[in-house]
């Protein structure tokens, strides 16, 4: 569903690559968690997956479509929620969603149904009529999540989606991720909350200094890291060794 093949990226004229020869294969109906220390290259990877940054080398396939060769077709299959919810502040939430609906070509009936669903779910009935300027961080995130799911994407990519959400909303988001998986789609997200990764993800990848250092199911990870008791221990030992 989502394959990343030997992708590298170096910013400008820097010496060290932000992402270094990364390969990943993520299957249909899978929730994949991407963890790693600050500055490890998670956001950079996600930006390449969503077409924001062109990779220096390597290829990315989204549901079989090459993102570099056929970007428009590939992007149609992606829903993206960025870490910093920067969106047009002077539009209202509803106007933003209409814009998103138009650019993804979502038919009227689906648009109406999905907006209605998430608006009720996130309790944003009143806020969607306000300008985004007046939104809190969490409200912006909810708006972006609604926008990302409007066209029912095959691959849903989220960058640290849980920061800023209240407990109830983050529960709802996690449920939503499970539902998305149940419908045969893929979810790819980065996070710093290890408990969430542990409970939610089918597989986890640990990235450090741009390189994928460990990948597998929770059990596999623990095994590889000499039977440590928790994901936190695995994370500490793995990222420590690398340094």
């Amino acid at each position: 569903m989502l394959s990343i093949r030997e992708v590298s990226k170096t910013y400008g004229k820097r010496q060290v690559p932000a992402v270094d020869n990364l390969s990943l294969e993520i299957k249909e109906g899978e929730i994949f968690g991407f963890i790693g220390p600050n500055g490890a290259g998670k956001t950079t990877t996600i930006k390449m997956l969503t077409g924001i940054l062109p990779p220096d080398k390597g290829s990315i396939l989204i549901a079989g479509v090459d993102l570099v060769k056929n970007p428009v077709e590939a992007k149609r299959k992606i829903g993206y929620v960025p870490a910093n919810p920067n969106i047009y502040e002077r539009l209202t939430g509803m106007e933003y969603l209409e814009f998103i609906g138009d650019v993804y070509g979502v038919p009227y009936a689906e648009r109406r149904e999905r907006i209605n669903k998430y608006m009720k779910m996130f309790e944003m009935e009143f806020s969607f009529n306000e300008q985004i300027r007046s939104y809190s961080h969490g409200m912006r995130q909810k708006l972006l999540i609604t926008g990302a799911l409007m066209h029912n994407p095959k691959v849903w990519i989220l960058d640290e989606p849980l920061t800023g959400l209240d407990p109830r909303s983050s529960f709802l988001l996690k449920e939503q991720m499970k539902e998305h998986k149940k419908n045969g789609n893929t979810v790819f997200f980065s996070t710093h909350i290890l408990e969430v990764a542990e409970k939610l993800c089918d597989r986890i990848g640990i990235i450090d200094k741009g390189r994928l250092v460990l990948i597998g199911t929770i059990e596999e990870l623990k095994e590889k890291a000499q039977k440590n008791s928790s994901l936190e221990d695995v994370f500490m030992t793995i990222t420590d060794q690398e340094g």
Partner: protein, 554 residues
Amino acid sequence: MNKFKKLLFFRLKNMLGIPQLKYMMRNNEKSRLYLAGFILLYLIVASSLLVPYFLILNFAYEATEIMGDTTLFISLLASSGQILLLFSGILYSFNSLYTSRDSEFLLSLPFPRGYLFLTSYVIAYIMNFFTSLLLLLPGLVVYLYKAGDAVVFVKGLVLSILYPIIPVSLSMIIVIPIMHILNRFKHKDIVATVAGFVLMVLFIASNMVFSSRMQEGQEAEFFAKLFSERLDLPKLSKGLVPYSAFMKELMVNERTGGIASFVILIALSAVVVLVTYLLCKRLYESLLQRAGHAGKKEKAVDVAVIKVGNPRLAFCKKELKLILRSPVYALNCLLNVVLGPLAVISIFKLSTDSKEALALDALVEAFRDKPYILLYIFYGFVMLLTSLNLVPSTSFSREGQHFWLTKVIPVPYVEQVKGRIYASVIFYLCCCVTMTVLLQFFIRLKLVYFLSVIVLILASVLQITYMSLAVDLIKPKLHWSTEAEAVKRNFNAVIGMLLSLVLVVVNALPVVLSIKVNADFGIALSLAISIAIAIFLRNVLMRLVNERYELINV
């Protein structure tokens, strides 16, 4: 005190964009060149403004000579400068208080209450000090040159330190309560935009009425008459700016009267500063704390009214909305929509009751048998104002931190750019359609020439749109924190305007060159060439889109 100095310098540096400049200087050769070009451009613009200012000062001095009392010139300089500084002070205060984004951050810093207001106050003073130098120095130079009085010149320099204090204080006292009121409005952005446009129209209209009453070669007499009969200058300057009398005393009186005036001025300034501080400090802080509160009643979303459209139109709609909703964008980008029709009306209509109107009518009549000249007056007039538009030349820059969205959505970049083209053309048309209708009313071109001029204008609008979008696409300014930075401190805006003027000249060139042979042929040629240029620029833009869009990183 040390803390105060630090806060002051910190804010001042940020406001002047010094960290950015330093970064550019340190960075590389290319950005240093870029910077030098920018400074050069500003110098050119500034000097082109200074020349007419010197001329006006010169006429004013001669007028006071005719009236027989050249110290009137000093009064005039002192009082009119104070009024102008009040306006610029309002602008600066408004800019630093209303559009700055650091206020929330500053509120959180451990400074004594009052420091925030005091630093804003000092910054406004410093900005106005430079403005006042620009206003006063030319006047002093003229006086020095004409009256040969060096003492006045030196005293004027000393006075310039005190000079901005009172207008700045008054502008603070005016702006802060206005902002309190503005804050209460439901749609405060719209109120601010409309108010800005009204002020602009008033300013420009008064300027135009004023200059349309002046006659070539008799400016000094005009001023003399204006000063002595219509305005009664001595009385007026005392009435409007009462303390300017002390300034004049200080400047021209060489005995104790001068010193006494100086002392009085210092005392007056001190009192005004104290009063302003006490009045505004609390008000300003409560304003900061309350900024951004919307008192609007909330309404639930009704999903039944969702609209559906295509991607290109969605982009166009988004552009229109964003520009019209932001006062900064609307006032800067759409200046010409207001200015254009106003210019036509004031030049052709307001002057009908004066002699110049007849001259203008006569001029139009004189060229009746040379319609190609009328056609180019028509075209030049429309395009000169139309090209002031900043919508396309800041189109990508205005995306700023939101740029990521344009890369994530499954809309080919070319389609997105077409949406931007639509939005720009719509705003251009707002300006040139009204201007064209009005001008045709006054000039009355024959149908075939009128149609030609329409085609020419449309082709030029497309040319300018493609060219400006290309300029902004090559090097968009995406890192900004206030909307003002995206349009005002954007090099692309200036380049876009200059290149637009170049295009206008190029379009008109065939006719100028073929006047001797056959002007109608020249017009036809010029139509063909302008259309060809439009098509060429469109291809250039589309090629650039495919090459450059991908490379823009956010």
